[in-house]
Amino acid sequence: MLATIIQNLINALQWGSFYALIALGYTLVYGVLTLINFAHGDIFMVGAYIAFFVATFFLTTAELPGWAALALTIPLTMILTSMVGVALERVAYRPLRRKGANRLYVVITALMCGLILENANLALLGASRKAFPPMITEHVYNIGGVIFTDLKIAVIVTTILAFFVLHKIVTKTRVGMAMRAISYDKFAVPLMGIPMDNIIVITFVLGSGMAGLAGIMFAMSYPILEPYMGALIGWKAFIAAVVGGIGDIRGAFLGGFLLGAVEILVVAFFPSTFRDLIAFTVLLVILAFRPTGLFGVAKTTKI
């Protein structure tokens, strides 16, 4: 019995890690720009593909040993994925902001950006799936009936560490303070001598970097890549961020794990085809009771 609980807990944490990391990006951008960046799920997909190319390069062209390839792939993928996020901000969102466009148009633009990323991928790389190259050999452990791999534990630990780093940045640094300030009162931020666009760029760097990290770890855990892999997981992570209280990074993080846990629990007791149906019903009920999410305090604090 205890073994089953621990087994499900590990599975839930690992599965929730991906939602949590992606939800952080949604919530950061929303906090600063009140923009729901619907392209974010596809940035995660791009992150996984970037990881694929970077890892393949290090393993086959550079012929590095697996651990060295992994050590280089993680930061490089995060940096490159950040650049994709920043490029999107520059090309698509900033011009609209300059013109003071209505939020509806910005959201539509975000949706289109996501579709463009998916279809550009399809056009450039074709519809065939890519198999992610193994960089490390996974080891399976069995402790008292609980079966887990070292990769699973690494995913969970990395996600928690990434969250603590992000949390430190948002709460303790001047940049983080500026991000929180923007979420409260955009007007007064430049009056403090703070270049707003720089803060927005940093926000996209942080959010997309997290999506890039999720991309690598997802590709290592489920090594089949296809252009639409970011769509559903992106939507789910967005819902996780809303359930947690969008605009608050603690909410996004916990919301991600909550969604992971609900999904794993459903599968533990019901046929797996029931998974999304029951998971979303539970989230709907949570929102009915707390429309601002677990951490959301309507309109007073974001991020």
């Binding site: 500026a178 007007f187 007064a188 403090m192 001598g193 703070i194």
Partner: protein, 241 residues
């Protein structure tokens, strides 16, 4: 001349709130812009601070010069960082989700890390002891008067030597109003240049060295505070007879 606004005409969309106004501020002065609602006082301040769209009025004619050089291409954050001008906006606009201390710290964003900030925080707390008592509180829990003190303190922490204030007395109890104006006088005596926009013309003219009277985007009168206080037209229109 520290700041000069020359025949400035600006537009928000199709509305033109300024029809060619000119005024200037010398170093070390307190200058006030007075006039009724819609006279163009706030628009003048926003133009000077180069606020970004959509808040920013679009300049269609005229110029704004700082020490003789046009600042129409200056970024809003550089108005603070390089020109050392800071605006205390109408309605305070403090960051309610940050603590009092964080509000003050954030204002030092563009400054050198090795600046002697400790003495400066101390100076703010000497001027406004209430802020020191409440430094760890979320600033939205402050009273209106305390929020105004924070807005002024925050502007000072940007390291500015030119303070622009938009209706700082609005919503303050009479005692707090006089306290605030006494503080502004003290700051000015210590070398701070001040451009003050006020509806309370009496109070403003008693503090300022010079004043400009704005009327629907045009200059209606200008002169020393003493002259304006004695001017029968100004008296009738803005000082309640």
């Amino acid at each position: 001349m520290l700041l000069s606004v020359e025949n400035l005409e600006v537009k928000y969309g199709n509305i033109q709130p300024l029809h060619g106004i000119s005024f200037h501020v010398n170093e070390g002065e307190i200058v006030t812009l007075i006039g009724a609602n819609g006279a163009g006082k706030t628009t003048s301040l926003y133009s000077i601070c180069r606020l970004a769209p959509p808040e920013a009025p679009r300049v269609i004619a005229g110029d704004i010069k700082f020490r003789g050089e046009s600042i129409l291409k200056t970024r809003p954050s550089d108005v603070v960082k390089k020109l050392k001008m800071a605006l205390v906006p109408e309605g305070r606009h403090i960051f309610g989700n940050l603590t009092v201390m964080e509000n003050l710290e954030l204002a030092t964003y563009s400054r050198e890390r090795d600046a002697d900030l400790k003495t400066e925080y101390q100076r703010i707390f000497d001027l406004f002891p209430r802020l020191h008592e409440r430094r760890k509180q979320r600033s939205e829990s402050l009273s209106g008067g305390e929020q105004q003190m924070l807005a002024v303190g925050r502007a000072m922490m940007t390291g500015c030597n030119f303070l622009l204030l938009d209706e700082p007395s609005m919503g303050l109890a009479p005692r707090l109003k006089y306290d605030l104006f006494r503080t502004l006088k003290k700051l000015n005596e210590e070398g701070m240049t001040i451009l003050l926009v006020e509806q309370n013309a009496h109070l403003a003219l008693h503090l300022a060295h010079r004043g400009y009277v704005l009327d629907t985007g045009k200059l209606a009168a200008a002169g020393s505070s003493k002259d304006l206080l004695g001017n029968p037209d100004v008296k009738k229109a803005y000082l309640g007879g």
